[in-house]
């Protein structure tokens, strides 16, 4: 009690001091300065991230309020201080070392000068975004029996009010106080020892925190769910595999639905106009073996349109039916508006660039943007169909794209200025083998394996600029080897991306011309973002074990 009253007293003293500053400023500079100072006061005194602010994120381009920057999933920054004419002068401003090993896949948030980020092993931190100096740090204590398939990774946070939300490898959803890093609530979503985990950045819609589960390599039953941001109470859960009696259940053989995977491990998007949230799902389990799960295996590898208030499914579109190549559709579903056309654009792991009408889930186009051999035919709606000949075989079967996909979880970007969609493409074919594997809870369950085809030329990658209206390639910039970096576009006419060799690169969005690059010292395994503080624009990206911030000299 004593502490609280002291703190309240010092707070009121602080506000009184601020008020005096405001008054003196008003005397000197007049009414305009007074109003400006008042709004500054309001911002600093509350610094609350409201649901309203999230909806209007485009009005505060200095902040990066959610994983993809906005609800549309554009990963576009309206900041233009760094632009095609001065990008060549970019310099590193600071680096923050997590000192953790493995892949650093996170995109940080920035709110009013404070950067909130995550790192490997489920660590969370708040930094002074101007200097990179830490303000608080949180480390989730991870049990020994967690089941991350692909590294102890985390991709970031969501924020609402004075809380940031992290979803962890031991299948917890946790709210941390944004000023202290203290745990406000901690919800257990599922049993981590059975293969359930979280790797994605949550998505806040209104008062709810939405997450989707990882674990497609462990025979989980996937789900997307929502928690009350204030209390941590679960409000709804949508299983990505229908139960008996539900539509789509007959797309699974026998009891295979119970262990059919279909995780949802990348952050969704949200259309407030129709109150619809779009999520994508991953592979059916076991990933490289279709035997025992005959059928389309709904809603694996699908785009789902959900009501964010209830979790009710409005419609679905399945990209890859009865997948045997690990073609998770877990790429951010990007909302594109062109006149009265309302689209979802997705460059899918299976090698096709899909445009789907987001009002009804109908396919508009599917165009290959990388080498594809798993499908050579399309159905009446234009949806690519899997070839029987491409199924994994005991002695191996070469299929393109390989299991890691023509792209993967790294974010694409949509630039409303160039009207182009930019994606990191990977040109790698794999040999898919298969073998029977009994299901055992918590044990890897993928029905054999894939490996790169050594007989072919070296694998490579490219940043590709695609025109959503035609599906056609506008330009590409070749990477030396397949890359794992996402893409950011900015109003400065730039796109930023990275490569496996450790370069962080700025290119002209219109032409693909490289304007600047910086060697980070280890592979860029994350998607960049941008923010501003003191009127100065920064571009940030994770590479190796460090988060780097770049700016003009």
């Amino acid at each position: 009690m004593k502490t609280r009253s002291m703190s309240a007293r010092s707070k009121s003293r602080f506000l009184a001091a601020l008020e005096m500053t405001v008054l003196s400023m008003a005397k000197v500079r007049g009414v305009v300065a007074f109003v400006a100072a008042l709004s500054l006061l309001a911002l600093q005194a509350s610094a609350q991230v409201t649901a309203e602010r999230l909806l209007n994120s485009s009005k505060e381009p200095q902040n990066w309020l959610m994983y993809s920057g906005d609800y549309a999933g554009h990963r576009f920054s309206a900041l233009d201080q760094i632009n095609v004419s001065n990008a060549v002068t970019l310099v590193p401003k600071w680096a923050y070392q997590t000192m953790a090993g493995g892949k650093f896949e996170a995109t940080p948030l920035v709110v009013d000068g404070i950067l909130y980020g995550t790192g490997q092993d489920d660590r969370v931190y708040a930094l002074d975004a101007r200097s990179g100096r830490p303000i608080w740090q949180y480390q989730q204590t991870l049990p020994a029996d967690i089941r991350p398939c692909c590294g102890r990774v985390n991709r970031g946070l969501a924020i609402l009010g004075d809380k940031v939300f992290v979803a962890t490898l031991d299948a917890h959803v946790i709210a941390l106080d944004s000023k202290t890093g203290n745990v406000v609530w901690d919800a257990t979503a599922a049993e981590h020892a059975k293969g359930y985990s979280f790797t994605l950045a949550p998505l806040v819609i209104k008062n709810l925190v939405l997450v989707g589960v990882s674990g497609g390599e462990y025979g989980i039953r996937g789900f997307i769910e929502a928690y009350d941001a204030a209390t941590g109470a679960r409000k709804w859960r949508f299983y990505t595999i229908p139960a008996p009696g539900e539509p789509g259940h007959d797309s699974w053989e026998g009891d295979s639905w119970k262990i059919g995977g279909s995780p949802a491990w990348i952050t969704g998007t949200y259309d407030p106009a129709t109150n619809t949230t779009f999520w994508t799902t991953g592979n059916p389990s076991p990933s490289n073996r279709g035997e025992g799960r005959a059928g389309d295996n709904l809603y694996s590898n699908s785009l789902l349109a959900l009501d964010p208030d209830t979790g009710k499914l409005k419609w679905h579109f399945q990209f890859t039916q009865h997948d045997e190549h690990d073609y998770d559709a877990t790429q951010v579903p990007v909302m594109i508006d062109d006149g009265d056309r309302k689209w979802i654009a997705q460059a899918n792991r299976n090698g096709f660039f899909y445009i789907v009408d987001r009002t009804n889930g109908k396919l508009i186009s599917a165009t290959s943007y990388a080498k594809v051999s798993w499908s050579t035919s399309k159905d009446a709606t234009g949806r690519p169909l899997p070839d029987k000949a491409g199924a994994p075989a005991p002695d191996g079967n070469r299929v393109c794209p390989g299991a890691l996909g023509a792209t993967n979880w790294m974010s694409p970007t949509y630039d409303p200025q160039t009207k182009l969609f930019y994606v990191t493409a990977r040109e790698q074919c794999d040999i898919f083998s298969t073998a029977p594997q009994p299901y055992e809870a918590g044990h890897a369950y993928y029905g054999s394996a894939y490996f790169p085809n050594d007989e072919t030329q070296p694998f490579w990658g490219a940043l590709r600029a695609l025109d959503p209206a035609t599906g056609k390639l506008k330009w590409e910039w070749k990477h030396t080897s397949p890359a794992w970096a996402g893409v950011l576009s900015t109003a400065g006419g730039l796109v930023f991306t990275g490569d496996a060799e450790g370069n962080f690169i700025a290119l002209e969005a219109a032409s693909g011309k490289v304007l600047w690059h910086f060697q980070c010292g280890a592979s860029v395994f994350a998607s960049p973002m941008s923010f501003a503080i003191d009127g100065k624009q920064y571009v940030a990206v994770a590479a190796g074990s460090a988060l780097f911030a770049f700016g003009l000299p």
């Binding site: 967690i146 692909c150 044990h443 993928y446 030329q457 490569d499 060697q519």
Partner: protein
């Protein structure tokens, strides 16, 4: 048991060790009876369970990277490996002493390759190659070296190792250099030229930069290297590495 082990092997091991355990570009050939990091069941179990420090061999645990195997499954894999092992040492099929003479003499291998500290630097060090590669792989490397290029530096987090590609550059002052790529990215190249000089260049500053997958190593056909000599050379590679590998 061996069949179950084969399934486990395909899922967990074939990515590097190849289908059938015959080795790929990444992991050693496991059909060799003599294994570089230990031959007993206990050593194999330990190597699979805990990984091999200082190599790309990961631990087969569930908590870390990779999806993992249970102890029982590791034993199934060992049973499978035993079932595909060739009992006789391939070294016995040739004359290692004559192979050594050829290596440092007529075939000129030692001009570019080092064996236990002696030889050239342009090609990969072969001190432990005999312990990790199949006879078929070694034969192919001699007869058709461009088919599968040897691997060089592996960087953490990078999916693929650099390969021994051939590079020819012309510098801004007109100097022409040929050699092997030690490493490369979109903007720079690090190379060793045929005179064993290290060079590092920014690609934009070069007048010309040409890279090929045609190995600098000559292809030894049956005329230049009759089958018997080839066997002797391989016997030397195997014997040298069985004696003590890369010491």
């Amino acid at each position: 048991m061996a069949k179950l082990g084969e399934y486990q092997f395909r899922s967990n091991c074939a990515f590097c060790h190849g289908l059938g355990g015959r080795g790929g570009g990444r992991g050693p050939d496991l059909t060799r009876a003599q294994k570089h990091h230990g031959n007993t069941d206990g050593e194999l179990f330990h190597n699979i369970h805990d990984g091999i420090a200082g190599t790309a061999m990961p631990a087969a645990t569930n908590g870390g990277i990779g999806v993992g195997m249970s102890d029982e499954e590791i034993w199934q894999v060992i049973t499978y490996i035993r079932s595909v092992e060739k009992k006789a040492s391939a070294a016995e099929t040739g004359d290692a002493a004559h192979g050594k003479e050829l290596f440092y003499g007529a075939t000129g291998c030692g001009t570019c390759h080092m064996m236990n500290g002696k030889g050239g630097r342009l090609g990969p060090d072969l001190s432990s190659t005999g312990a990790s590669r199949s006879v078929e792989y070694l034969t192919e490397s001699l007869r058709n070296p461009s088919k599968r290029l040897a691997q060089g530096i592996s960087e953490p987090l990078k999916d693929f190792s650099e390969e021994y590609e051939t590079v020819t550059v012309v510098t801004s002052d007109g100097t022409k250099l040929q050699g092997v790529v030690l490493n490369e990215d979109s903007f720079t190249v690090q190379m060793l030229d045929t005179r064993e000089q290290l060079h590092a260049f920014e690609k934009v500053k070069l007048r010309s930069y040409v890279k090929t997958r045609e190995s600098l190593m000559p292809a030894y056909d049956v005329k230049t290297l009759p089958d018997k000599d080839l066997k002797d050379l391989i016997a030397f590679l195997l014997a040298a590495s069985e004696k003590g590998g890369g010491q």
